[in-house]
């Protein structure tokens, strides 16, 4: 075997591996969607049925028994709201750190990011009690605030990296032109990193849409998100696979569609500005 053949073989092997991994990752989603169109009996049939007559019965039942739209609305409000609130804090903060760094800037950034490594359950009690005291349990406001705070470190880090790609001379030119700090941010920095800001917003929305710890612990019926809706389908009488699959499909669908539409920005965001 010569060099070229060897290279081709290893390339083919890599391609096959990639496909296997992709299929492994996609299979549960495929199975979930498939099961959502089965009847409960078909769902637990052994061996599993691949060919069957699809039914929409589960979806109707969910809309009948619960209010899917209310939960979906709650998911939208909290994930978008949390993201916007976090951006409101993170943009000025990242600007300051990127363009007016002090000796501790790197340390502070690292420390902020390190808070993401702590188990959230460690602060569940105090947060729960604070929410209770202020009557914020099961409200969207509480979730928006907490969502903003839990995503703040990663949003800061991403924006910091995007902002640092802007040449300092452009900001100096703006300063010579008499731009105030506010205008520097809104008229120069933000338009110049709009791609990065879009990626950050999208990634944050996706992360918050799927957030389960705080949604499950701090909400029930009033401010419950789609995550809470899915969880509510695990009842004491046992799991109804077809219905759980249907409700999970409904919970995933909006964010999958959003992800599909914006995959270019998302990939850029996930690679942390490494490729441009």
């Amino acid at each position: 075997m010569n060099e070229l053949q060897k290279k081709n073989l290893s390339n083919n092997l890599l391609t096959v591996t990639a496909w296997v991994c992709a299929c492994l990752m996609f299979f549960p989603i495929f199975w979930m969607v498939l099961t959502s169109f089965k009847t409960e009996l078909q769902a637990i049939a052994v061996p599993p049925k691949l060919v069957f007559k699809p039914t929409l019965e589960n979806f109707f039942l969910i809309q009948e028994r619960t209010s899917y739209t209310r939960y979906a609305w709650s998911s939208i409000v909290t994930s978008v709201g949390g993201t916007l609130l976090a951006m409101l804090i993170a943009i000025p903060a990242a600007y300051a750190m990127a363009f007016h760094p002090g000796r501790q800037t790197k340390g502070i950034l690292l420390w902020m990011l390190s808070t993401k490594m702590l188990p959230a359950v460690g602060v569940l009690m105090p947060v729960y009690l604070i929410c209770q005291k202020f009557g914020l349990l099961d409200t969207k406001i509480a979730l928006v605030v907490i969502f903003a705070l839990i995503n703040l470190p990663i949003i800061m880090m991403m924006l910091f990296n995007y902002f640092r790609e802007i040449p300092g001379e452009i900001l100096e030119a703006a300063r010579m032109d008499g731009a105030t700090v506010g205008r520097e941010v809104t008229q120069i920095v933000m338009p110049l990193s709009r791609g990065g800001i879009a990626s950050t917003v999208l990634l944050s929305i996706v992360l918050l849409w799927n957030e389960s710890f705080w949604s499950l612990n701090l909400t029930s019926s009033d401010a419950g998100t789609l995550v809470a809706l899915v969880a509510s389908f695990s009842s004491p009488e046992g799991l109804f696979w077809a219905k759980v699959s249907a409700v999970s499909t409904l919970a995933c669908a909006p964010i999958v569609v959003l992800g599909w539409l914006t995959q270019k920005q998302l990939v850029q965001g996930l690679s942390f500005g490494a490729i441009k």
Partner: protein, 347 residues
């Protein structure tokens, strides 16, 4: 238009002092070029005048008014950056209009001033383009246009030509000269290119290690360099430095007493080929560079001193046989003597 006074200005970044007690007076309408090797503090000095850095001691005044605590945009100065620093997301028009908008200039006035500047710089047809769609030279002109529309008292240029190719550099240099002629505004220009410095400046300020080595007209710097550094920095190719033993004939003719290691400076253009090897300096040819108009001969003396000569500039040189060894006479009027210890010019 304005004068600029730099009074005992000091600047350090942390422990490192980059400018030591700089004193400089720039007259109204003067074109001053700061020149020096990288790291000499020339850009820092410019940025201090711009207000992008703050001085640790001393003061800077523009037209008699101390500007140390005045924001960059309020100093009446405009700066052209090395990287052009155009706003990539704005059209050429908006790039030029940005500063005026910040100042709240009426829309009609903005339009008038931008179209006037565009007219002067030949940018009128490009006003709606984005900087991405422009060539390097055009971008540089937009950067200059952005500086012009603000009608500043002082123009600051930070190595504005270093990103352009050679042909464009010459052309843009001429445009800057024309601009200075037309506007008559005080201009301060930073470069490490001594040709730019020589051609543009009314006065050149040579900096080294945060200190002014010499400040004077291009002619003064060329003919009367204050010290070895200035002598070697100004002029291309650079000045030759000989030992006394390289030029016994010249030293014998010299009447004053000289220290043993005194250095003799002669520019390559002041060496003329002679058939008589006893008169001046003789060197073995190492290599030659033919530049068409003349040939640069790189030689080495018997004492091991390397030197360069321009050969073939006049008709008498034309027939020079570029063989192994060449002798040159030295023009007595164009010899520079330098003290070996201080490096200062003796005469």
């Amino acid at each position: 238009m304005a004068s600029v006074t730099i009074d005992k200005v000091q600047k350090s970044f942390g422990e490192q002092v980059v400018l030591h007690d700089i004193e400089l007076q720039i007259a109204d309408g003067e074109f001053v070029v700061f020149v020096g090797p990288s790291g000499c503090g020339k850009s820092t000095l410019l940025r201090l005048i711009a207000g992008l850095e703050t001085n640790n001691a001393g003061s800077i005044s523009i037209d008699g008014q101390i500007v140390d605590n005045i924001a960059p945009s309020k100093r009446g100065v405009s700066m052209v950056f090395q990287s052009y620093a155009l706003y990539p997301h704005m059209t050429v028009f908006n790039n030029m209009a940005f500063g005026l908008k910040q100042a709240g200039t009426p829309r009609a006035e903005i339009k008038k001033r931008v179209s006037h500047a565009a007219d002067v710089l030949g940018l009128t047809s490009l006003l709606k383009r984005s900087p991405r769609a422009l060539s390097g030279g055009q971008r540089q002109r937009v950067a200059i246009g952005r500086a012009i529309v603000r009608e500043p008292r002082v123009f600051l240029f930070d190595e504005p030509l270093s990103n352009l190719d050679a042909a464009l550099r010459n052309q843009t240099r001429l445009e800057i000269m024309r601009l200075h002629q037309r506007l008559g505004t005080t201009m301060i220009y930073v470069t490490h290119d001594q040709i730019e410095a020589m051609t543009l400046a009314d006065r050149i300020v040579v900096l080294k290690d945060g200190r002014i080595e010499q400040s004077g007209s291009p002619q003064t710097l060329y003919h009367e360099p204050a010290n070895l550094f200035v002598a070697s920095f100004i002029g291309s190719p650079t000045m030759n430095f000989f030992k006394l033993t390289d030029l016994p004939d010249l030293v014998n003719r010299h009447t004053q007493s000289l220290k043993e290691n005194t250095i003799i400076g002669v520019r390559p253009e002041h060496l003329s080929v002679t058939p008589d090897s006893r008169k001046g300096v003789t060197g073995n040819l190492e290599l030659t560079e033919n530049l068409g108009e003349y040939t640069l001969a790189h030689l080495i003396t018997e004492q091991g001193t390397h030197f360069t000569a321009k050969v073939g500039r006049n008709s008498s040189d034309a027939s020079t046989d570029m063989t192994k060894s060449l002798s040159f006479t030295v023009d007595d009027n164009n010899v520079h003597w330098f003290d070996p210890d201080s490096g200062l010019r003796l005469r």
